[in-house]
Point group: C2
Chain length 213, copies 2
Amino acid sequence: MTDTLPPETDAPENRPYHHGDLRRALIEAARVIIVRDGAQALSLRGVAREAGVSPAAPYHHFKDKQELVLAVGKLGFEELGEAMEVEINRIGGTVNDRITAIGVAYVLFARDNPALYRLMYDCSRNMESLPPEMHEKEHSAYAIVRNAMIEAGRASADNDIDVELATVAAWCVAHGIAEMGGFAQFAPLKQALGGELNFYRELLLRSGNFQPR
Amino acid sequence: MTDTLPPETDAPENRPYHHGDLRRALIEAARVIIVRDGAQALSLRGVAREAGVSPAAPYHHFKDKQELVLAVGKLGFEELGEAMEVEINRIGGTVNDRITAIGVAYVLFARDNPALYRLMYDCSRNMESLPPEMHEKEHSAYAIVRNAMIEAGRASADNDIDVELATVAAWCVAHGIAEMGGFAQFAPLKQALGGELNFYRELLLRSGNFQPR
DNA sequence: AGATCATCTTGACAGCGTTCAGATGAATTG
DNA sequence: CAATTCATCTGAACGCTGTCAAGATGATCT
């Protein structure tokens, strides 16, 4: 034995440090497990296994399982924001078109990453207040919706309360559709409307059901 | 030892049978634990402990922990339907008033039983199709919303697709508000709107944000 | 070179879901 | 009434989990 190699793992990058950038590796491993096996199958030991380290290793980077999960959720929110911005740029069109596109992008993100989306929501709820950057960052998911609401005249930019209310209302609708839109019982309805996308669009557009007219 | 009593438990009712109506007792115990300690603290062993039986006893009434949780969720849906009906009868008024009242009752139920509501949603999602009775029962939560949509002319009773779409859209909005309305970050907004109830009402009424006008 | 200090491992603990062999005792049968 | 049946409940065990304390490792700093 001329060399004491670190145990062989399938990490593509070289390990410049003790083990390498384990913190990032753990977050990534957790994300893989969640997407592949569901959130219920996410165990700290499993994540450590996937990353090729001992069960106690994560405790040098996260004080808790919860803290690792939180990091994954934060990553998810960044990805969500990116997905929404991509869709905005792809669509162009009128403001209303873009608002609908944002909503659809939101719902599709949840459809494509159901367990991750679920986890993201749990993160939001478990924090007494969301991390400040989520609201402040220029390109955060929240800022995107907020700006769209102002741009579309759903709220006047002067009235902070009005703006936030419009944003929250839109967000709640999207959240509801994101979580319930995937229910198997809605399959016939999707078919009757000519496909999933139309179903989501229709729900977004019709979500004024509680509004007297 | 003249008598081999069953181990002393604090169950108020007499035990006509071997242990008594354990199935119901387990569901009730689980509900208590969820409401008291949160869903994450719900363990099958804990439920058995609370009911005063051995850890293996539940397996004679539920094949799984999941199956017990499902029973609790079903109970929750029944309670939700009752809460909505109570509110409908209390309000009277115009159809629009009643629709709003249904939405508010829905959201308040979730606010008062957050962990239970969360569990109920998980149950809905984990079943490939909801138990038939949830849709069919005359006084189910679903039927209440559905009937309100027809009565309010949000959908013509002849058009099944339209009716279901209206119902689902309303439900999605209520679900979104129910889950996100409790976030601590909205506290200032609630205050600015003169209280929680107005906040929920405003969200319900404004949830047509994606609708072009 | 030697010391420092973050990083990682080993081993342990209690608690979890679940299973299985056996005890208990109410209901049914002869 | 006595014997049997059968659902119900217990006790002990399995492998898994999150978490912690003590020790090994090795990169970095003086």
